[in-house]
Each structure stands twice: as structure tokens, then as C-alpha cells.
Symmetry: C2
Subunit: 359 residues, 2 copies
DNA sequence: ATGAAAGCGCTAACAC
DNA sequence: GTGTTAGCGCTTTCAT
């Protein structure tokens, strides 16, 4: 009964189908089967066809462990993430997994949960499994010590980077993203721009704050007050916005270090009777859909394009596996996504913006 | 130089260290090395020690492909998710990965992206890699057709379930969760409870709505109006809240099908001058931290405990791999997380709740 | 054009 | 207590 699944066929032993079974059914030797299946050597068309249909009929799937054993390649890579919660690593992983899948690579998922012990455990596991390469991802863009030295396989750091400049890292151009945000605010006519962001000890916060300050300086302007460092939370956004309202009513734009902060700012501004974007334009960072779109009004935001970044990391890893390593720090541009929170104030349409919930 | 990493040692060939290298360095045969490393057979303590330190010195890691080849077991499982964006599958995966890691299992990550073709591709890949089992996860709790029939390895469905009742599925007890939400609202003295939720064709929406209605009926009450089916979005929450305000000012609680919806409802109520929880108590679903905590006030919500659910699924899979299958549909209880949005209205503290952003 | 056989790294059965 | 060897499933010479 050729149409049936292998495991349903009467007489099926439960044992996986091997190349031997195929050889027997096709009436040839295993060597011939191997050639037929891999399109190597020279075979009569008829023989090749006979083998292929036998394999088909048995539902034969080559045992990759055996292939790995004599090729030395497993067509497998490890992905180690230090990020438990996954907000940043998920798109990275998905992008990488997609790019690797196209190269017939399977991905081992390793969640190190910010624990160096777990990390080393996973590293050993992956080496034992003879993965062809490793991608290391994490929640922060700050450089971190290499996961290992003198490893026999290539490693690519994605989002995070390695402190060793010879290592291959792919990182978002956060400074460039901040530049785009500031440029956009200037372009829509804003001049008194404040900056609210995360903790000062957080790499992304300082990079983005510095970049924003520098860009304004290039335009002959200064930030409206020092950057407000706090937490990556809506609550901090609300709190900081109130500080701003208390101290300086002249601000006509706020560039925020994250969408969560921006959303808190939007809520606080609205509660205080300030209109966004008419009175104050708002730009976030991350382009986190649920925040940027849930915000009233929808938020202009800097997108780090993490999925693309993951894809790039995977491509660099594949190249390195094939002997074409690209050592060093590779930056990946950010993209500014413009939404209503920075709509040009030259054409205000107050009545339309104010009741988004109406049915 | 014993302290050095294997790959840095002078004379290192780049070739992975095998059991042969260890045998040679220890001056014994490969069989002896195998016994020493796996604690089998009987060896002199001195010999065992000599082997272990040789292995240590060379940084030996057994080639898992070889182990797999003659044990037939790969200590590997596949995790197929149909969920691209990952909101639900991430905690599931993390829980499962954690539980499997404890069993020395590595996890292949497969993102099928809602594409049946990709799903079957991954299934073939996993079978070819001879995984010991498969976990299938997805974004919706609705039953889906089995991923394959007569498969040679156990499959466990997590969050989603299989339409075949003989398959092993682990699903959240959404109805139970809805019961807890309603019970809690009744316990804090609410009697006119409305329900706003996602699309009517969405399994979770109807299950939760039905369960809420039933529970109220058991208490001799009725839902305040028919369930409002719409979208899983904040915008719909806002819109539905306005419908509610227009039609029926007497509602003293809203049970929402998701935290996103609840958050939209909270915003709309506040904008309309209604106080939460004083005038209207609010319960969400999902306990999605960023929504539940970002909401003003923080949201009481039903937590499906997806990480635990993933862990349970992994444990069931491990058991099935060891020959102790647990066919059928296993439900996993939900947990109600109580926050300010349902604080008992008998002790109102209006002044404190209204300015959470104050510094 | 096809078959036979060695070998990838490891484990286990058996010999000594 | 330790060494030798067959064999897991597959690929790849090398004969024929």
C-alpha cells in the first residue's frame, strides 16, 4: 500500500528506515543508494529512479547523526541568549533562525538566563554536539566578555557585542537612530527638545543621549535641560514628564529612550492638557508595536530592525563557517517610523485627533 | 601547559579531540576510556583517574553524533511553534527548554510562521535528525489537526491542542480562569459585570465569555449586556468602554478578555471621569506584565502560567520518551493576580490613587 | 554502472 | 582490570 505513511505500513518494525532497507527494496547496494540519493557518481537513470521510489515508498529520512559523523559537519548552530524575557532576543532569533533554515541549518535554543554558569554549560553542550557555529544574543547592547577563547568554531555576537574587537559582532547603530530622531524633530520645526531615557549606567541610554546631544549641537542647538535618566518604564515616563512640565513649559518635543517611556510621557502630557503632537511632539525608541500603536496618538519611533539584524548575524555566521570570516564590529542602521506623534504642526487638525476611541 | 584551553595548546591540529586522543595520552585503550568516562565496568581507581585527567587536559567532549548513532537516542527534542510574534510561545518555550535542559536534552527551535508547508518541512527535518520527541506550540488555544499521524516519536501539544483526543495536549484552564475572575469581582461586591473581549470566532474569546456567563448564572446573576466581541486591541477596549458608558452607566465592573483590552477600557473610563476601581473594577486576562503594570491603576489579571505549562509539557514529553505516555487533554490551572484595579471598594482612598506619577 | 569495504567516534560484548 | 572488536548509518574510495 504505497500511499500509506511509513509508520502505518503493516509489518513496520518501529525501527527507523535506513539506507539498508532502501537498498534491499531497490535491489542494489548501499553505496548505490547513497549515490542515487545525493546525485553523485554515475548511475543508470533507471537505477536512480528505482532507488528514489524505494526511498519514497519507505519514507526514508537519512540519519543526520551518521552524516555528521563522517562529514564532521552537523548543519546545526547554537543560539545562546542571555535574555530571559525575550523582548529583544525574539525577533533576533526569528530572523537568524529564518536565515539559517534557508541554509538547511537547524538551531539549538539555549536560554542562559543571565547566569554565567548556565552559559558555560550550554557552551560545552554545543561544542559536544559539534555545532558548526554559535550566535550569542542578549538584552543589552553593551559589550561583554567573549563567551570563550580559542573556540574551534566561529561565533557571532548579535545585538550585544564582544569586548574583543577581533570577534564578529553585529550591533544596531543606536547613535544613528538617535540622529534620525533628532533630525526628524528638527524637520517638523521643533527647537526645544528634551530627552527622557533609562538608567545612566545603561549603555543604550548613554549612547542615545550623547548622540542626540551631539546632533543638536551640530545644528547649533542644545538639549532642553540635561537628559533625564531614570528607568525603562511608563511610570518613569509619566514622572519625568511632570518634572518637565513643572520646570519648563517651553518644550516643544521630547525624544524618549524607549517607547515605554514615551507612552508614559504621552499619558502625562494628555493628563496635563498638553496636546501631542500639536504642543509637544514625541519620538520613542524600539518601535515596539504594542507600545507604539497602543499609544495615543500612535508613536513615531526608531526601529532597530532586530529581525534583519538577526538575519545579518546568521549570514555572517554562515560565511564564517564557510571560511570567510568577517571579524570586527558591524553596525546595522536603524529606521525611523513616522506616526502621528510627530505629525507636522504646520497643519494642525485638532478636532480629528482628539477622539480616537469613537465608534 | 595543562592550564590552557585545548585550542590554544601548541600543536593543536584544529581537529576535535576524540576518545582516541585521550586513550593515547592516558596510555590505555579506547574501551577503557569509554568505561572510565561513563563510570561503567570495573577499573582501577588509578586508571580511571589517569583517563579523566587526560580527558580534562585535552578538553575532551564526546561527539554526540557518535553517541546518537549507536544508542539510537539523540537527547534532542524539536519545538515547533506556529507563532511568529512569540508573545505566548516565548514563556512556553522557556519553560519547556528549562525542564528539558535539566534532562540533558537540547532543543531545536522551529518557527513555522503559520505556514503549513514550513511546518511539514520542519517535521521532516526533525525526524531526519532523529529527535526523541516533539513539542508543538501555537498562539491560539483552539484544537488543531495533528502535525502528523503514526509518527515514530511522541508529540506533546502545549497551549494549542490536537483535534485527535488520543494525542497528548497541555492547555490552560481558561474557563477556570474566567471563573476565578468573576468570583473575585463578586467577592469585592460587584454585581453589574460587563464583558469585553476579542473576536467571536476566536476560541479563547468564546470560552472565556461562556465561562463568565455561566459562573454569573450559578450566582443567580446575569452579565450586564451581551459580551462585547471585537478585537484583541487597546483601541477596541476604548471603543467598547464608550459603548458601555453610552448604553449603561450602571456597570460596576468589567471583565476583559485580555490585558490589552482592559487597558483600553481603563483609559477610556478615566477619560470619561470614571474612577477605577472605585466606580468600576477591572479584570484583565494574560497577566502580561507590560500591560498589567503599565495600566493605571495596575491591573488584576488572570495568569495562564505559560512557563509552568511549558514545563509540564516538557515533563510529559520526557515521560513519553521513557515509555510512559499520558495521552489526552491535560488542563493546567490559571492563577488570579490581584492588583489595584479591583481593590475592595469598601475602603476607598481616592486621593492616593489619582497621582501615581508624582515625584 | 555497480558492489565491496574502510572508516567517521563511540559503546558494549567478549576475550584474556 | 584491560584490550580487542563489531557495529550504529552513512559516504567514499577502489575494484570490477
Amino acid at each position: 500500500m504505497p500511499g500509506r505513511k511509513a509508520a502505518e505500513r503493516p509489518g513496520n518494525t518501529g525501527r527507523p528506515v535506513t539506507i539498508n532497507d532502501v537498498a534491499q527494496l531497490a535491489g542494489v547496494s548501499v553505496g548505490t543508494v547513497s549515490k542515487a540519493l545525493n546525485g553523485r557518481g554515475s548511475l543508470r537513470a533507471e537505477t536512480r529512479h528505482r532507488v528514489l521510489s524505494a526511498a519514497e515508498q519507505l519514507g526514508f529520512q537519512p540519519n543526520r547523526a551518521a552524516v555528521a559523523l563522517n562529514s564532521g559537519r552537523t548543519y546545526t548552530v547554537g543560539m545562546i541568549t542571555t535574555d530571559t524575557i525575550g523582548r529583544f532576543s525574539i525577533p533576533l532569533m526569528m530572523g537568524a533562525e529564518d536565515a539559517l533554515g534557508a541554509g538547511e541549518m537547524s538551531v539549538f535554543l539555549c536560554d542562559a538566563r543571565d547566569d554565567p554558569i548556565r552559559e558555560q554549560y550550554y557552551l560545552r553542550t554545543l561544542l559536544s554536539r559539534r555545532v558548526d557555529g554559535i550566535i550569542v544574543t542578549g538584552r543589552r547592547t553593551q559589550a561583554r566578555p567573549p563567551i570563550g577563547t580559542g573556540l574551534p568554531i566561529p561565533v557571532v555576537y548579535a545585538f550585544i557585542s564582544s569586548t574583543d574587537p577581533r570577534d564578529c559582532s553585529v550591533v544596531p547603530d543606536e547613535a544613528g537612530g538617535a540622529h534620525k530622531a533628532v533630525d526628524h524633530l528638527l524637520a517638523v520645526g521643533r527647537r526645544r527638545i528634551a530627552h527622557i531615557t533609562g538608567p545612566e549606567h545603561h549603555h543604550s541610554a548613554t549612547v542615545r543621549a550623547t548622540a542626540a546631544t551631539d546632533r543638536l549641537a551640530e545644528a547649533g542647538l542644545r538639549l532642553a535641560g540635561a537628559p533625564l535618566f531614570g528607568e525603562w518604564s511608563e511610570a518613569w515616563g509619566r514622572q519625568a514628564a511632570q518634572l518637565l512640565l513643572g520646570a519648563n513649559a517651553e518644550v516643544d518635543a521630547v525624544f524618549c529612550g524607549s517607547d515605554q517611556i514615551a507612552r508614559g510621557v504621552a499619558d502625562a502630557l494628555r493628563a496635563a492638557g498638553r496636546r501631542v503632537p500639536d504642543d509637544v511632539a514625541l519620538v520613542g525608541f524600539d518601535n515596539w508595536d504594542v507600545m507604539a500603536l497602543g499609544c495615543q496618538p500612535p508613536l513615531t519611533s526608531v526601529d532597530m530592525e532586530l529581525e534583519k539584524l538577526g538575519r545579518t548575524a546568521a549570514d555572517l555566521l554562515l560565511a564564517a563557517i564557510n571560511g570567510e570570516a568577517s571579524p570586527g564590529r558591524h553596525t546595522h542602521p536603524c529606521r525611523l517610523v513616522i506616526r502621528d506623534s510627530t505629525a507636522a504642526s504646520s497643519t494642525p487638525a485638532p478636532a480629528l485627533d482628539s477622539a480616537p476611541g469613537g465608534s
